[in-house]
Amino acid sequence: MNNVWSLTKKEIRAYFGSPIAYAVITVFLVLAGFFFYSLVWWFNNQAMEASQNPYYAQQLNINQMVFSPLFHNISIILLLVIPLLTMRLLAEEKKIGTEELLFTSPVSVTQIILGKYLAALFVLVVMLLPTGILTALTFAYGNPEPAPVLIGYLGLFLMGAAFIAVGLFFSSLTENQIVAAVLTFGTLLLFLVLNWAAYSAGGVWRGVLNYISFFQHFDSLTQGMIDTQDLVYYASFAFFGLFLTHSVIQSRRWR
């Protein structure tokens, strides 16, 4: 555990000792803020119209109309920024030769992978936390239900955690960070939109495509619904990514 912590500390220092973390977090927050502003502005407009129409006013729901779409939008920003966060994790070590130091030290491959994974998770949390200010504003000036908002955040965290595992895997495959980022981005985007194919597919395939796609699992979380199936989905996605990373590193020694 101490080894994992040493590696995590080193990675966190690398993120914040260089412009990477600041650039990624800034871009993320600016975009998240913009989406929030647009959604609130639109909701506000709807509320003005609803003041003329009591029936419509009952339909207004800030959780449904602001938070759910906000979480979806944020998940797209994560899709863009997480490959940039994970691309260097293993590719850079390989490129500059420091992996030879890591792999000849008495630390296991599992510890190395976990150390790096936790560091990226830490940046994810640091990135998501400031959006709490936006959330706090809606609580100050409106009355959304807190539980679905928290569950939505849980969804973002789980989704980010799965994204990072995929990014770590592609970072282990190459020493070129751009290649790692492009492969990660492409894969994540494909998994996000895989459910589109489910509409045209029939029978078993519809279910399969819907299940492996990120979308459905995330959608129910943004609606404030916790289903173990979704939690298992994200956990197994992350586990599978880390497992593949481990296999790639181990097999390289034998080649």
Binding site: N2, N3, S6, L7, K10, R13, A14, G17, S18, I96, G97, T98, E99, E100, L101, L102, F103, T104, S105, P106, V107, S108, R253, W254, R255
Partner: protein, 309 residues
């Protein structure tokens, strides 16, 4: 003690190391000598547990490299060919990190960092970012990270490569000073490095063992040989065959207008016969000197020819 036993490493169809065996006794410095792409780095990577071998065994101290890799990693300090440095860390910060992952107990870490800084002479750059220090200092940081956990065994891959002559001398004297406490293997393609710092050498070429032993032992294998190098104005292949006919001469090698003649020591000196021949045939003697049969000759010989027993 380091034992390499019939080690083979294949990368696909390419065999980098074949059936390599040698041993290095405790407290000695041995050189792994060979031209580029001889298999030196691969051998070191196998010993340090970075690569797995295709066949064979290796052990470092009491531990088997393949059965107890973690134990081996704890007692080895390794300087890879590309010094593994994080450019955005400070020298001291980097050494602290290495101390952590090399399992130096927390209480001993500050002392270990100080000691490594002192031994490698890094006091003046300890607070600087690694990307801003010179090549020579980077190499020394590499040596410092290899020493940080006070390992029994040091494996140094081309420790003086890319350094200027003054820095080379410094690193060599550093290695000699480490000898008392550590068993050291260093790889090099520079002969002086071996003659100046090592107790013994393993010479490999194309992954195969060509010769190994203590420096005295290696040169002793030549002590029963004698020879001369001749430089002729009128060199020809005909001259070479004439030399071969001189009774007693066992080998003649020609490079340009230079001939190298060898024979077994103890026989009556053949120099007179050879000189007479040159004068008779009017070959135009420019120079005649004794062929210095040193480790350099051994090296050139094994690298161009076959193994020596």
């Amino acid at each position: 003690m380091i034992v390499v036993d019939h080690l083979t490493k294949k990368y696909g169809s390419l065999t980098a190391v074949r059936d390599l065996s040698f041993r290095v006794e405790e407290g000695q410095v041995w050189g792994l000598l060979g031209p580029n792409a001889a298999g030196k780095t691969t051998t070191m990577r196998i010993l340090t547990g970075y690569l797995a071998a295709t066949e064979g065994r290796a052990s470092v101290g009491p531990y088997d490299v393949f059965e107890q890799p973690d134990e081996v990693k704890k007692i080895i300090g390794y300087l890879p060919e590309t010094v593994p440095l994080y450019p955005d860390m400070t020298v001291a910060g980097y050494l602290r990190f290495v101390a952590e992952i090399k399992q130096v107990p927390p209480a001993k870490r500050p002392g270990a960092v100080e000691e490594a800084v002192r031994v490698a002479g890094l006091e003046s750059v300890r607070g600087r970012l690694i990307k801003n220090i010179s090549r020579g200092f980077k190499q020394r940081v590499g040596v410092a990270q290899a020493l940080i956990h006070d390992p029994q065994v040091l494996i140094l891959d081309e420790p003086t490569i890319g350094l200027d002559p003054a820095q080379i001398i410094e690193i060599r004297s550093l290695i000699r000073s480490l000898k008392k406490k550590h068993t050291i293997i260093l790889s090099t393609h520079i002969l002086q490095e071996v003659t100046q710092t090592c107790d013994g050498a393993v010479i490999i070429n194309e992954g195969r063992l060509m010769a190994s032993g203590s420096l005295e032992g290696l040169t002793a294998s030549f002590e029963d040989r004698d020879g001369v190098v001749l430089k002729l104005r009128r060199a020809s292949t005909e001259a070479a065959s004439l030399f071969k006919k001189v009774p007693g001469v066992e080998s003649v090698e020609r490079t340009g207008n230079e001939y190298r003649l060898e024979w077994t020591k103890g026989r009556p000196d053949l120099r007179d016969d050879i000189t007479r021949l040159i004068v008779d045939k009017d070959l135009g003697l420019l120079e005649m000197r004794p062929a210095g049969l040193s480790i350099e000759d051994l090296y050139l010989k094994v690298v161009s020819g076959g193994p020596v027993q």
